[in-house]
Symmetry: C2
Subunit: 515 residues, 2 copies
């Protein structure tokens, strides 16, 4: 039995990833450099992620808004620390008219804007400007806002979902009267992300605080959730920032306190993006394509009628339609079950492999005998094979219908458990010196073949160095293609000696190669 | 009893509109010229419109996708007819980097793009380019795609929701093997729009075909739904275009037919935008602010506790919370009922007027006596006053809870009926010559005061002139600030003489001032 993809994870993980994105029909590159086209199956996954997260964002008291796509250049200049950070490569709108000259379309030089506009890379500045107008008294606080939007960061080397010039995300922005409230918000939203990514995407993560050098520019604290991909690399899956009063000072967001004094707000921001879809692929995909957790599968049960252009086709189709109608009445994982009968004019074997590659959790193949015997032939995508053999089981229809909500929940749990076991098995916390860490990752940096070998993460004791000392740590790690990921919130005492400084460690930090 | 707004519809409709948008807390202008900030109450309305329409778009077989924000300038040039049309004023991205020079932020001249990028004004070209790649056989057809996106059309004179440089919309794009199928799609989606706008937004419309001069550039037929605002002007509330093979030719979207020949696809596109919110305001608003149809009210029942900082406040709040919990278990208009207890620290009278201005359909005021007697004091926003008196009725709580789903349906129906009656009462179909039409609208063009006077629409017999003859019609109408709106799908025979050409009429067309 040949595999559905032309390349395996072990052969070349990066090519395998591209193959899954293409073969699962998730997305494709566009003629616009760095921008992607998210296709129906990929967008369907995004809509389900959005739906689950949006519900939690609203339940935690936030309102959705929409702010302008464009940001005046002067707003970016205001945020000096911002400018020094990630936000230098940006799409700049300088003109507002095209005109035809000698039958050729050109940018009309007379339409130059007085002030260039930046296509938002993130919206702290434009939303902060609104907060300044909206907030005057402590009674106006907290302001709890979220927006679902596209953002643009000019990227030179792009990879579908993981790093694109334009991507989709949500960005939460809040303003609070005091530090404690803002800090609670920052941690609360990190926890919302952890829950959604683990419970809905079935991707286990480690939540923690970023070290100083990895903070969002302007943030006092940055927290992240980090997921382990199947090549061992870390993927930052979401961030939540406590911005202190830094942005409020830069943008003059002040309020009159209960005691009548004028004070600066404490603000936060937090976001996750379509990058999560890349994380789902690299967590759950296998050498046959994608495997989708049922909670984010646009179709959870795909019914494939085995048609032969013979009279009994009508019975098969009738059986399939009736089965789908039954499934439509069910709930699974808290939502109406999503089933489809694939009636496309294609060979049934091709359809099976289409849905295998796309990662539909349950595939039912229905032939004339199944219809006659009131049976379904069931393929579980998460347990597709035993060796080279495809596993399918014949199950009485009524029994299947009764069991399918529990089956989908089981698949969801099984995918999470598999990924969780991988994460836990691949964090080394027994390395006690930088030399040992370098040795573990070391060869990777030296030759390409070894670099492709699986390496997990290291959880190392450290003394939380800062400033120049931290920069030196960064440089040493960079030489091994490593980065500091985060300082897990869950720490286990006692600590030993910092692997970087030799001083007593105060906590442990995760070290990994990363996307 | 003073009105909630500082200006009435009769005094100045345009200022009244702005006042409602501001006082109902729907949206505000941003520091970016022509771009708006949609605030939580306005965005909540949009989310409900989106939800209802998205369901219908999916039910009719369309998949959501996401295409790039940017369009290469050469794509725009391809569409010659496109360029001559609306799409000349566009935001043009020419550079991709900012840099600091002597402490000042500037556009880096070294970052000039080889080809300028246009911020999408609409996506026919970039989506058509994908269709070209996706379609090769008749088996690939139809392709039925939708996207929810922001688009930018550089506008010189903007008005919140009605005309902004950036707005939110959905754009459907489909490709078909034959003309009949594409034409059916065009009309089907027009009908979906009619249903959503009438049934969900409670805005009555007239569906019809645009005359040749009002077609979308490149379209063979353009259909629209037109709504009558309270100042008598028409608002185009949605359009659906049959594009023939025009775009397919320009972009080489071809397929191999069943008989093996290479043929061009027939394509369609259709869209509605945040402009609909402007239409809701101008259809249902009154001199106290907005009135929202319950189907799109982010909060349908607002419970205002009348707190007095006295011991009985606790009982009032407990009563309100219990009532809200009861309401949360109900369904109204097909969705879970949306209720809220307004616990903001503000005077109860101010809260009442906040919710009146925002147009919450049902407002309940709960004081200590109501709580003690198990009664609610109910204000219906659609029937707020009798003369200057605010109408409120005391209703036993249990009776209210039983009746509230029906009450919300009744309010939805009443708002539609009121608008429908106004539409029907204000279409003149008795004017038989251009002179009579000019006389009806005529004075309007001459002095500003008369121009502000209410004028409805005229439904006039016409001979469907084309080319230069139609241009002359357009010019004559333009002098009276009039436009041809559409040729209603529902026509009543027999026709008389065309008011423009004097030839026998073939149908009737709507003439109106318009937004």
């Amino acid at each position: 039995m040949k595999r559905a993809l032309s390349v395996t994870r072990e052969e070349n993980f990066a090519q395998w990833y591209q193959a899954v994105v293409a073969e699962a029909d998730m997305a494709e590159t566009s003629p616009v450099r760095g921008c992607m086209i998210v296709k129906p199956w990929g967008y369907g996954v995004w809509e389900l992620i959005q739906g689950a997260l949006d519900r939690r964002i609203k339940e935690t008291g936030h309102d959705n808004c929409y702010f302008p796509l464009f940001i005046p250049m002067s707003f970016i200049a205001q945020e000096a620390s911002h400018v020094e950070g990630f936000a230098k490569e940006m799409a700049v709108v300088t003109h507002h008219r095209l005109k035809a000259v000698d039958g050729k379309l050109v940018v009309d030089p007379d339409s130059k804007l007085e002030e260039p506009l930046i296509v938002r890379p993130t919206s702290e500045t434009i939303i902060g400007d609104a907060f300044r107008r909206w907030v005057s008294s402590h009674r106006d606080l907290p302001v709890l806002i979220n927006q679902w939007a596209n953002v643009v960061r000019w990227e030179m080397r792009t990879r579908l979902f993981l790093r694109t010039s334009e991507f989709l995300w949500q960005e939460g922005h809040t303003a609070h009267a005091d530090e404690a409230d803002a800090r609670e918000e920052t941690r609360k939203m990190l926890e919302v992300y952890r829950q959604i990514v683990e419970d809905v995407l079935a991707v286990p993560v480690i939540a923690g605080e970023k070290p100083e050098n990895e903070r969002f520019p302007g943030a006092v604290n940055t927290y992240s959730i980090e997921a382990m991909m199947q090549d061992g690399k870390a993927l930052q899956a979401g961030t939540s920032h406590y911005l202190g009063t830094n942005f409020a000072h830069a943008q003059n967001i002040r309020f009159q306190s209960a005691s009548g004094e004028l004070e600066y707000c404490h603000t936060t921001s937090w976001g996750v993006s379509t990058r999560l879809i890349g994380g789902v692929i690299m967590t759950h995909g296998d050498d046959d394509g994608l495997r989708l957790p049922p909670a984010i599968a646009p179709r959870q049960v795909v019914i494939v009628p085995m048609l032969r252009e013979k009279p009994e086709d009508a019975e098969v189709l009738a059986f399939c339609d009736k089965l789908k109608a039954e499934l439509d009445g069910l709930f699974a994982l808290g939502s109406p079950l999503r089933a489809i009968v694939d009636k496309k004019p294609a060979r049934a074997a091709n359809k099976r492999w289409d849905w295998v590659r796309r990662g539909a959790p349950v595939i039912l193949e229905i032939g004339p005998r199944d219809a006659a015997n009131d049976v379904v032939t069931l393929i579980r995508r998460d347990r597709l094979r035993e060796g080279d053999k495809i596993v399918s089981t014949a199950t009485p229809r009524a029994e299947f219908v009764n069991a399918v909500p529990a089956l989908l929940a089981e698949i969801q749990a099984a995918l999470f458990a598999e990924a969780k076991a991988r994460l836990e098995a691949n964090i080394r916390s027994d390395l006690t010196s930088f030399a040992e860490i370098a040795d573990y990752f070391g060869k990777a940096a030296e030759d390409d073949e070894a670099a492709a070998a699986f390496k997990g993460w290291v959880r190392a004791p450290w003394a939380r160095p800062t400033g120049a000392e931290l920069e030196e740590v960064e440089t040493r790690l960079k030489a091994l293609k490593l980065t500091l990921r985060n300082i897990p919130l869950e720490q286990s005492a006692p600590k030993s000696i910092c692997v970087f400084t030799g001083r007593p460690a105060v906590e442990e930090i995760l070290i990994a190669r990363a996307y």
